[in-house]
Subunit: 218 residues, 2 copies
DNA sequence: TCGCCGGATTTGTGATCACGCTCGATCATG
DNA sequence: CATGATCGAGCGTGATCACAAATCCGGCGA
Protein backbone atom coordinates (compact mmCIF):
# COMPACT_ATOMS: atom_id res chain seq x y z
CA UNK A 1 0.00 0.00 0.00
CA UNK A 2 3.01 2.24 -0.39
CA UNK A 3 2.42 5.18 -2.68
CA UNK A 4 4.77 7.88 -3.84
CA UNK A 5 3.15 10.73 -2.05
CA UNK A 6 5.23 13.75 -3.02
CA UNK A 7 6.56 13.53 -6.57
CA UNK A 8 7.98 17.07 -6.33
CA UNK A 9 9.65 18.14 -3.08
CA UNK A 10 8.52 21.78 -3.35
CA UNK A 11 10.86 24.78 -3.06
CA UNK A 12 10.00 25.17 0.62
CA UNK A 13 8.83 28.77 0.85
CA UNK A 14 5.77 27.99 -1.20
CA UNK A 15 3.91 25.29 0.66
CA UNK A 16 0.83 23.92 -1.00
CA UNK A 17 -1.65 25.28 1.48
CA UNK A 18 -0.06 28.71 1.28
CA UNK A 19 -0.38 28.80 -2.47
CA UNK A 20 -4.01 27.73 -2.29
CA UNK A 21 -4.71 30.18 0.51
CA UNK A 22 -3.18 33.15 -1.26
CA UNK A 23 -4.94 32.46 -4.52
CA UNK A 24 -8.34 32.05 -2.93
CA UNK A 25 -7.82 35.09 -0.75
CA UNK A 26 -7.03 37.27 -3.73
CA UNK A 27 -10.02 35.96 -5.64
CA UNK A 28 -12.34 36.75 -2.76
CA UNK A 29 -10.89 40.17 -2.00
CA UNK A 30 -10.99 41.29 -5.61
CA UNK A 31 -14.57 40.22 -6.00
CA UNK A 32 -13.90 37.45 -8.50
CA UNK A 33 -16.42 35.29 -6.69
CA UNK A 34 -20.05 36.31 -6.34
CA UNK A 35 -21.68 36.43 -2.90
CA UNK A 36 -23.02 33.02 -1.97
CA UNK A 37 -20.66 31.20 -4.31
CA UNK A 38 -20.19 27.68 -2.91
CA UNK A 39 -16.85 25.92 -2.64
CA UNK A 40 -15.98 22.32 -1.83
CA UNK A 41 -12.77 20.95 -0.42
CA UNK A 42 -12.55 18.28 -3.07
CA UNK A 43 -13.19 20.84 -5.77
CA UNK A 44 -10.45 23.12 -4.50
CA UNK A 45 -8.08 20.19 -4.11
CA UNK A 46 -8.74 19.06 -7.68
CA UNK A 47 -8.40 22.57 -9.05
CA UNK A 48 -5.02 23.14 -7.43
CA UNK A 49 -3.75 19.61 -7.87
CA UNK A 50 -3.34 18.95 -4.17
CA UNK A 51 -4.97 16.67 -1.64
CA UNK A 52 -7.78 17.64 0.67
CA UNK A 53 -5.46 18.53 3.53
CA UNK A 54 -4.03 21.79 2.15
CA UNK A 55 -7.44 22.68 0.77
CA UNK A 56 -8.89 22.35 4.24
CA UNK A 57 -6.22 24.43 5.86
CA UNK A 58 -6.71 27.24 3.37
CA UNK A 59 -10.46 27.21 3.76
CA UNK A 60 -10.24 27.05 7.53
CA UNK A 61 -7.99 30.09 7.53
CA UNK A 62 -10.19 32.05 5.17
CA UNK A 63 -13.21 31.25 7.32
CA UNK A 64 -11.33 32.54 10.35
CA UNK A 65 -10.66 35.79 8.53
CA UNK A 66 -14.28 36.17 7.48
CA UNK A 67 -13.47 35.74 3.81
CA UNK A 68 -15.70 32.68 3.67
CA UNK A 69 -18.59 31.47 5.78
CA UNK A 70 -19.10 27.93 6.96
CA UNK A 71 -22.51 26.43 7.63
CA UNK A 72 -23.17 24.15 10.58
CA UNK A 73 -22.68 21.16 8.30
CA UNK A 74 -19.30 22.45 7.22
CA UNK A 75 -20.35 23.70 3.79
CA UNK A 76 -18.37 26.70 2.69
CA UNK A 77 -19.35 29.70 0.59
CA UNK A 78 -18.55 33.35 0.08
CA UNK A 79 -20.46 35.57 2.50
CA UNK A 80 -23.81 37.14 1.65
CA UNK A 81 -23.85 40.24 3.80
CA UNK A 82 -26.98 41.94 5.05
CA UNK A 83 -27.34 45.68 5.22
CA UNK A 84 -26.46 45.98 8.89
CA UNK A 85 -23.27 44.05 8.40
CA UNK A 86 -22.28 46.14 5.41
CA UNK A 87 -22.87 49.33 7.36
CA UNK A 88 -20.89 48.01 10.27
CA UNK A 89 -17.94 47.08 8.10
CA UNK A 90 -18.11 50.50 6.47
CA UNK A 91 -18.01 52.08 9.92
CA UNK A 92 -14.87 50.17 10.76
CA UNK A 93 -13.27 51.28 7.51
CA UNK A 94 -14.30 54.85 8.31
CA UNK A 95 -12.60 54.58 11.68
CA UNK A 96 -9.36 52.89 10.65
CA UNK A 97 -8.56 54.13 7.17
CA UNK A 98 -8.37 57.86 7.94
CA UNK A 99 -5.99 56.98 10.74
CA UNK A 100 -3.81 55.00 8.32
CA UNK A 101 -3.88 57.88 5.86
CA UNK A 102 -2.95 60.29 8.60
CA UNK A 103 0.00 58.14 9.61
CA UNK A 104 1.14 57.83 6.01
CA UNK A 105 0.85 61.54 5.26
CA UNK A 106 4.23 62.70 6.61
CA UNK A 107 5.95 59.88 4.72
CA UNK A 108 4.16 60.37 1.41
CA UNK A 109 6.71 61.71 -1.04
CA UNK A 110 6.11 62.53 -4.68
CA UNK A 111 7.02 59.11 -6.09
CA UNK A 112 4.29 57.56 -3.98
CA UNK A 113 1.74 60.12 -5.11
CA UNK A 114 2.73 59.52 -8.74
CA UNK A 115 2.15 55.83 -8.28
CA UNK A 116 -1.24 56.47 -6.70
CA UNK A 117 -2.23 58.68 -9.63
CA UNK A 118 -1.23 55.94 -12.05
CA UNK A 119 -3.32 53.40 -10.16
CA UNK A 120 -6.18 55.86 -10.11
CA UNK A 121 -5.96 56.23 -13.88
CA UNK A 122 -6.24 52.47 -14.27
CA UNK A 123 -9.14 52.59 -11.88
CA UNK A 124 -10.96 55.22 -13.93
CA UNK A 125 -10.27 53.17 -17.03
CA UNK A 126 -11.84 50.11 -15.40
CA UNK A 127 -14.94 52.12 -14.57
CA UNK A 128 -15.31 53.30 -18.14
CA UNK A 129 -14.91 49.74 -19.41
CA UNK A 130 -17.41 48.46 -16.86
CA UNK A 131 -14.84 45.98 -15.55
CA UNK A 132 -16.03 45.38 -11.98
CA UNK A 133 -13.19 43.10 -10.89
CA UNK A 134 -10.47 45.46 -12.11
CA UNK A 135 -12.38 48.32 -10.54
CA UNK A 136 -12.35 46.68 -7.13
CA UNK A 137 -8.74 45.61 -7.47
CA UNK A 138 -7.35 49.00 -8.45
CA UNK A 139 -9.52 50.73 -5.90
CA UNK A 140 -8.02 48.63 -3.11
CA UNK A 141 -4.55 49.00 -4.60
CA UNK A 142 -4.95 52.76 -4.46
CA UNK A 143 -5.72 52.66 -0.78
CA UNK A 144 -3.15 50.04 0.10
CA UNK A 145 -0.39 51.91 -1.68
CA UNK A 146 -1.01 54.82 0.62
CA UNK A 147 -1.52 52.82 3.79
CA UNK A 148 1.67 50.85 3.34
CA UNK A 149 3.49 54.09 4.13
CA UNK A 150 1.81 54.28 7.51
CA UNK A 151 4.21 51.65 8.89
CA UNK A 152 1.35 50.13 10.86
CA UNK A 153 1.19 46.49 9.81
CA UNK A 154 -1.40 45.40 12.35
CA UNK A 155 -3.79 48.17 11.41
CA UNK A 156 -3.31 47.50 7.72
CA UNK A 157 -3.90 43.80 8.24
CA UNK A 158 -7.11 44.62 10.06
CA UNK A 159 -8.31 46.84 7.22
CA UNK A 160 -7.45 44.16 4.68
CA UNK A 161 -9.55 41.71 6.65
CA UNK A 162 -12.47 44.09 6.21
CA UNK A 163 -11.80 44.37 2.50
CA UNK A 164 -11.75 40.60 2.36
CA UNK A 165 -15.15 40.34 3.98
CA UNK A 166 -16.53 42.97 1.63
CA UNK A 167 -14.94 41.55 -1.54
CA UNK A 168 -17.84 39.59 -3.02
CA UNK A 169 -20.35 42.22 -1.93
CA UNK A 170 -18.32 45.02 -3.52
CA UNK A 171 -18.27 43.20 -6.83
CA UNK A 172 -21.99 42.67 -6.68
CA UNK A 173 -22.55 46.30 -5.74
CA UNK A 174 -20.38 47.95 -8.35
CA UNK A 175 -21.39 45.36 -10.89
CA UNK A 176 -25.06 46.08 -10.35
CA UNK A 177 -25.22 49.86 -10.55
CA UNK A 178 -22.69 50.22 -13.32
CA UNK A 179 -21.85 53.88 -13.14
CA UNK A 180 -19.62 55.59 -15.66
CA UNK A 181 -18.35 58.22 -13.25
CA UNK A 182 -14.81 57.62 -12.02
CA UNK A 183 -14.15 57.36 -8.27
CA UNK A 184 -14.96 60.85 -7.08
CA UNK A 185 -12.89 61.23 -3.94
CA UNK A 186 -9.64 59.71 -5.04
CA UNK A 187 -8.58 63.01 -6.55
CA UNK A 188 -9.40 64.75 -3.30
CA UNK A 189 -7.20 62.27 -1.48
CA UNK A 190 -4.31 62.96 -3.84
CA UNK A 191 -4.83 66.71 -3.56
CA UNK A 192 -4.81 66.57 0.24
CA UNK A 193 -1.63 64.51 0.13
CA UNK A 194 0.08 67.05 -2.11
CA UNK A 195 -1.04 69.89 0.15
CA UNK A 196 -0.04 68.08 3.32
CA UNK A 197 -3.58 68.78 4.55
CA UNK A 198 -4.27 66.22 7.25
CA UNK A 199 -7.87 67.09 8.15
CA UNK A 200 -8.68 67.25 4.45
CA UNK A 201 -7.09 63.85 3.90
CA UNK A 202 -9.01 62.27 6.75
CA UNK A 203 -12.27 63.65 5.45
CA UNK A 204 -11.56 62.63 1.86
CA UNK A 205 -10.72 59.07 2.86
CA UNK A 206 -13.68 58.82 5.18
CA UNK A 207 -16.04 60.04 2.50
CA UNK A 208 -14.56 57.82 -0.18
CA UNK A 209 -14.88 54.79 2.03
CA UNK A 210 -18.34 55.57 3.28
CA UNK A 211 -20.18 56.74 0.21
CA UNK A 212 -19.30 53.80 -2.02
CA UNK A 213 -21.00 51.47 0.42
CA UNK A 214 -24.02 53.67 1.05
CA UNK A 215 -25.61 52.14 -2.05
CA UNK A 216 -26.90 49.20 -0.15
CA UNK A 217 -30.30 48.28 -1.44
CA UNK A 218 -29.98 44.53 -0.83
CA UNK B 1 -5.58 -2.52 8.95
CA UNK B 2 -9.07 -1.40 9.75
CA UNK B 3 -9.33 0.61 12.92
CA UNK B 4 -12.34 1.92 14.72
CA UNK B 5 -11.71 5.56 14.14
CA UNK B 6 -14.53 7.29 15.96
CA UNK B 7 -15.65 5.42 19.06
CA UNK B 8 -18.02 8.23 20.00
CA UNK B 9 -20.03 9.90 17.26
CA UNK B 10 -19.90 13.35 18.88
CA UNK B 11 -22.99 15.49 19.52
CA UNK B 12 -22.38 17.43 16.32
CA UNK B 13 -22.05 20.99 17.58
CA UNK B 14 -18.82 20.18 19.34
CA UNK B 15 -16.42 19.03 16.67
CA UNK B 16 -12.98 18.11 17.86
CA UNK B 17 -11.15 20.96 16.21
CA UNK B 18 -13.67 23.43 17.56
CA UNK B 19 -13.19 22.24 21.10
CA UNK B 20 -9.42 22.43 20.75
CA UNK B 21 -9.64 25.83 19.08
CA UNK B 22 -11.86 27.36 21.72
CA UNK B 23 -9.80 26.07 24.61
CA UNK B 24 -6.54 27.31 23.17
CA UNK B 25 -8.06 30.63 22.22
CA UNK B 26 -9.30 31.24 25.73
CA UNK B 27 -5.95 30.28 27.19
CA UNK B 28 -4.15 32.72 24.94
CA UNK B 29 -6.59 35.59 25.38
CA UNK B 30 -6.60 35.31 29.15
CA UNK B 31 -2.85 35.27 29.33
CA UNK B 32 -2.53 31.73 30.63
CA UNK B 33 0.41 31.23 28.28
CA UNK B 34 3.55 33.35 28.56
CA UNK B 35 4.86 35.19 25.49
CA UNK B 36 7.09 32.92 23.44
CA UNK B 37 5.53 29.75 24.81
CA UNK B 38 6.06 27.02 22.22
CA UNK B 39 3.39 24.54 21.13
CA UNK B 40 3.60 21.40 19.03
CA UNK B 41 0.87 19.76 17.02
CA UNK B 42 1.56 16.36 18.50
CA UNK B 43 1.58 17.82 21.98
CA UNK B 44 -1.77 19.50 21.47
CA UNK B 45 -3.17 16.36 19.91
CA UNK B 46 -2.02 14.25 22.85
CA UNK B 47 -3.28 16.76 25.38
CA UNK B 48 -6.78 16.84 23.88
CA UNK B 49 -6.91 13.20 22.94
CA UNK B 50 -7.33 13.82 19.24
CA UNK B 51 -5.26 13.21 16.15
CA UNK B 52 -3.01 15.73 14.50
CA UNK B 53 -5.64 16.86 12.03
CA UNK B 54 -7.89 18.81 14.43
CA UNK B 55 -4.82 20.11 16.24
CA UNK B 56 -3.52 21.52 12.98
CA UNK B 57 -6.80 23.14 12.09
CA UNK B 58 -7.03 24.86 15.46
CA UNK B 59 -3.48 26.10 15.30
CA UNK B 60 -3.88 27.27 11.73
CA UNK B 61 -6.91 29.26 12.71
CA UNK B 62 -5.27 30.82 15.72
CA UNK B 63 -2.29 31.79 13.61
CA UNK B 64 -4.63 33.46 11.15
CA UNK B 65 -6.13 35.48 14.00
CA UNK B 66 -2.74 36.51 15.31
CA UNK B 67 -3.16 34.55 18.53
CA UNK B 68 -0.10 32.48 17.66
CA UNK B 69 2.86 33.05 15.42
CA UNK B 70 4.34 30.49 13.06
CA UNK B 71 7.99 30.42 12.08
CA UNK B 72 9.12 29.66 8.55
CA UNK B 73 9.64 26.05 9.54
CA UNK B 74 6.10 25.81 10.86
CA UNK B 75 6.96 25.97 14.53
CA UNK B 76 4.27 27.65 16.57
CA UNK B 77 4.44 29.82 19.67
CA UNK B 78 2.61 32.63 21.40
CA UNK B 79 3.64 36.04 20.08
CA UNK B 80 6.41 38.12 21.64
CA UNK B 81 5.39 41.64 20.77
CA UNK B 82 7.78 44.53 20.42
CA UNK B 83 6.98 48.01 21.64
CA UNK B 84 5.85 49.35 18.29
CA UNK B 85 3.42 46.50 17.84
CA UNK B 86 2.02 46.97 21.33
CA UNK B 87 1.51 50.67 20.72
CA UNK B 88 -0.14 49.96 17.42
CA UNK B 89 -2.55 47.46 18.92
CA UNK B 90 -3.32 49.92 21.69
CA UNK B 91 -4.11 52.55 19.06
CA UNK B 92 -6.56 50.22 17.40
CA UNK B 93 -8.22 49.55 20.72
CA UNK B 94 -8.37 53.29 21.33
CA UNK B 95 -10.12 53.77 18.01
CA UNK B 96 -12.62 50.92 18.15
CA UNK B 97 -13.57 50.51 21.79
CA UNK B 98 -14.91 54.02 22.42
CA UNK B 99 -17.08 53.54 19.37
CA UNK B 100 -18.41 50.25 20.76
CA UNK B 101 -19.09 51.91 24.08
CA UNK B 102 -20.86 54.76 22.38
CA UNK B 103 -23.08 52.34 20.48
CA UNK B 104 -23.85 50.42 23.65
CA UNK B 105 -24.65 53.50 25.71
CA UNK B 106 -28.30 54.00 24.68
CA UNK B 107 -28.98 50.30 25.31
CA UNK B 108 -27.22 50.08 28.68
CA UNK B 109 -29.91 49.61 31.28
CA UNK B 110 -29.37 49.19 35.00
CA UNK B 111 -29.13 45.39 35.01
CA UNK B 112 -26.18 45.62 32.66
CA UNK B 113 -24.46 48.23 34.79
CA UNK B 114 -25.02 46.08 37.88
CA UNK B 115 -23.37 43.17 36.14
CA UNK B 116 -20.44 45.34 35.12
CA UNK B 117 -19.99 46.52 38.69
CA UNK B 118 -19.98 42.92 39.91
CA UNK B 119 -17.32 42.01 37.35
CA UNK B 120 -15.33 45.04 38.36
CA UNK B 121 -15.45 43.96 41.98
CA UNK B 122 -14.02 40.58 41.00
CA UNK B 123 -11.42 42.43 38.99
CA UNK B 124 -10.37 44.56 41.96
CA UNK B 125 -10.23 41.42 44.05
CA UNK B 126 -7.90 39.79 41.53
CA UNK B 127 -5.61 42.82 41.66
CA UNK B 128 -5.39 42.66 45.44
CA UNK B 129 -4.63 38.94 45.29
CA UNK B 130 -2.02 39.50 42.59
CA UNK B 131 -3.78 37.00 40.33
CA UNK B 132 -2.69 38.11 36.88
CA UNK B 133 -4.77 35.65 34.88
CA UNK B 134 -7.99 36.47 36.70
CA UNK B 135 -7.15 40.14 36.39
CA UNK B 136 -6.86 39.92 32.62
CA UNK B 137 -9.96 37.75 32.33
CA UNK B 138 -12.25 39.96 34.40
CA UNK B 139 -10.86 43.08 32.76
CA UNK B 140 -11.81 41.79 29.33
CA UNK B 141 -15.13 40.53 30.66
CA UNK B 142 -15.90 44.01 31.92
CA UNK B 143 -15.35 45.49 28.49
CA UNK B 144 -17.05 42.71 26.57
CA UNK B 145 -20.15 42.87 28.75
CA UNK B 146 -20.57 46.48 27.70
CA UNK B 147 -19.66 46.02 24.06
CA UNK B 148 -22.08 43.14 23.59
CA UNK B 149 -24.84 45.73 23.92
CA UNK B 150 -23.49 47.63 20.92
CA UNK B 151 -25.05 45.09 18.56
CA UNK B 152 -22.00 45.33 16.34
CA UNK B 153 -20.68 41.80 16.01
CA UNK B 154 -18.04 42.54 13.40
CA UNK B 155 -16.54 45.35 15.41
CA UNK B 156 -16.59 43.28 18.57
CA UNK B 157 -14.93 40.39 16.77
CA UNK B 158 -12.22 42.74 15.58
CA UNK B 159 -11.59 44.02 19.09
CA UNK B 160 -11.45 40.49 20.44
CA UNK B 161 -8.84 39.68 17.83
CA UNK B 162 -6.74 42.50 19.26
CA UNK B 163 -7.26 41.19 22.79
CA UNK B 164 -6.15 37.80 21.55
CA UNK B 165 -2.93 39.20 20.15
CA UNK B 166 -2.27 41.06 23.37
CA UNK B 167 -3.17 38.18 25.69
CA UNK B 168 0.25 36.79 26.54
CA UNK B 169 1.79 40.26 26.63
CA UNK B 170 -0.88 41.54 29.00
CA UNK B 171 -0.21 38.73 31.41
CA UNK B 172 3.50 39.46 31.30
CA UNK B 173 2.88 43.16 31.77
CA UNK B 174 0.46 43.01 34.67
CA UNK B 175 2.38 40.13 36.15
CA UNK B 176 5.61 42.10 36.14
CA UNK B 177 4.58 45.42 37.67
CA UNK B 178 2.23 43.95 40.24
CA UNK B 179 0.29 46.97 41.33
CA UNK B 180 -2.20 46.88 44.19
CA UNK B 181 -4.32 49.68 42.84
CA UNK B 182 -7.59 48.53 41.29
CA UNK B 183 -8.34 49.45 37.66
CA UNK B 184 -8.69 53.22 37.86
CA UNK B 185 -10.96 54.08 34.96
CA UNK B 186 -13.54 51.34 35.25
CA UNK B 187 -15.46 53.38 37.77
CA UNK B 188 -15.39 56.35 35.43
CA UNK B 189 -16.83 54.14 32.71
CA UNK B 190 -19.65 53.02 34.99
CA UNK B 191 -20.31 56.59 36.11
CA UNK B 192 -20.51 57.84 32.53
CA UNK B 193 -22.90 55.01 31.69
CA UNK B 194 -25.17 55.92 34.59
CA UNK B 195 -25.11 59.59 33.60
CA UNK B 196 -25.67 58.85 29.93
CA UNK B 197 -22.61 60.97 29.25
CA UNK B 198 -21.34 59.89 25.85
CA UNK B 199 -18.22 62.09 25.54
CA UNK B 200 -17.28 61.12 29.08
CA UNK B 201 -17.73 57.45 28.28
CA UNK B 202 -15.59 57.67 25.16
CA UNK B 203 -12.83 59.41 27.07
CA UNK B 204 -12.99 57.00 29.98
CA UNK B 205 -12.76 53.96 27.72
CA UNK B 206 -10.00 55.48 25.64
CA UNK B 207 -7.97 56.30 28.72
CA UNK B 208 -8.56 52.91 30.32
CA UNK B 209 -7.45 51.13 27.18
CA UNK B 210 -4.46 53.32 26.50
CA UNK B 211 -2.90 53.79 29.90
CA UNK B 212 -2.71 50.13 30.83
CA UNK B 213 -0.52 49.48 27.83
CA UNK B 214 1.66 52.55 28.21
CA UNK B 215 3.81 50.56 30.63
CA UNK B 216 5.89 49.07 27.89
CA UNK B 217 9.48 48.91 28.98
CA UNK B 218 10.50 45.80 27.04
C1' DT C 1 36.94 25.48 28.18
C1' DC C 2 34.76 26.61 24.04
C1' DG C 3 33.19 25.78 19.42
C1' DC C 4 31.71 22.73 15.87
C1' DC C 5 29.91 18.74 13.70
C1' DG C 6 26.99 14.69 12.89
C1' DG C 7 23.61 11.46 13.96
C1' DA C 8 19.18 10.62 16.37
C1' DT C 9 14.92 12.37 17.43
C1' DT C 10 11.12 15.28 16.85
C1' DT C 11 8.61 18.28 14.05
C1' DG C 12 5.37 19.99 10.31
C1' DT C 13 3.49 18.70 5.72
C1' DG C 14 0.69 16.40 2.75
C1' DA C 15 -1.77 12.08 0.96
C1' DT C 16 -5.11 8.76 1.67
C1' DC C 17 -8.94 6.50 3.56
C1' DA C 18 -13.20 5.24 6.46
C1' DC C 19 -17.22 7.00 8.31
C1' DG C 20 -21.54 9.44 8.95
C1' DC C 21 -24.13 13.10 7.53
C1' DT C 22 -26.19 16.35 4.15
C1' DC C 23 -28.32 17.58 0.19
C1' DG C 24 -30.57 17.26 -4.16
C1' DA C 25 -32.72 14.71 -7.81
C1' DT C 26 -36.03 11.45 -8.69
C1' DC C 27 -40.29 9.24 -8.27
C1' DA C 28 -44.53 7.94 -6.12
C1' DT C 29 -48.55 9.83 -4.00
C1' DG C 30 -52.16 13.26 -2.93
C1' DC D 1 -49.79 19.46 -11.18
C1' DA D 2 -48.04 20.10 -6.66
C1' DT D 3 -45.97 17.86 -2.67
C1' DG D 4 -43.52 14.89 0.00
C1' DA D 5 -40.47 10.81 0.79
C1' DT D 6 -36.49 8.24 -0.59
C1' DC D 7 -32.11 6.98 -2.10
C1' DG D 8 -27.67 7.71 -3.80
C1' DA D 9 -23.92 10.67 -4.74
C1' DG D 10 -21.05 13.83 -2.63
C1' DC D 11 -19.60 16.25 1.35
C1' DG D 12 -16.68 17.40 5.71
C1' DT D 13 -14.35 15.22 9.63
C1' DG D 14 -10.81 12.92 11.66
C1' DA D 15 -7.15 9.13 11.88
C1' DT D 16 -3.02 7.38 10.17
C1' DC D 17 1.13 7.18 7.71
C1' DA D 18 5.41 8.43 4.78
C1' DC D 19 8.65 11.81 4.18
C1' DA D 20 11.84 15.72 4.53
C1' DA D 21 13.50 19.21 7.21
C1' DA D 22 14.47 21.22 11.45
C1' DT D 23 16.09 20.78 16.02
C1' DC D 24 18.52 18.88 19.76
C1' DC D 25 22.35 16.78 21.99
C1' DG D 26 26.17 14.13 22.32
C1' DG D 27 31.14 13.92 21.61
C1' DC D 28 35.25 15.27 19.31
C1' DG D 29 38.80 18.54 18.29
C1' DA D 30 41.16 22.96 18.98
Amino acid sequence: MQIVQRPTPEPSTLSAHDRVYRTLRTQVMHGELAPGHALTLRGIAREFGVSMTPARESVQRLVAEGALTMSASGRVQTPELGNERIEELASIRALLEPELGSRALPRAHSALIDRMEAINAANTDAVLRGDAVTYVRTNLEFHRTLYLRAQSPAMLAMVETIWLQLGPTMRALYGRLRRNTPPPHHRMIVAALKAGDEPGLRLAIRTDVTQGLRHLTQ
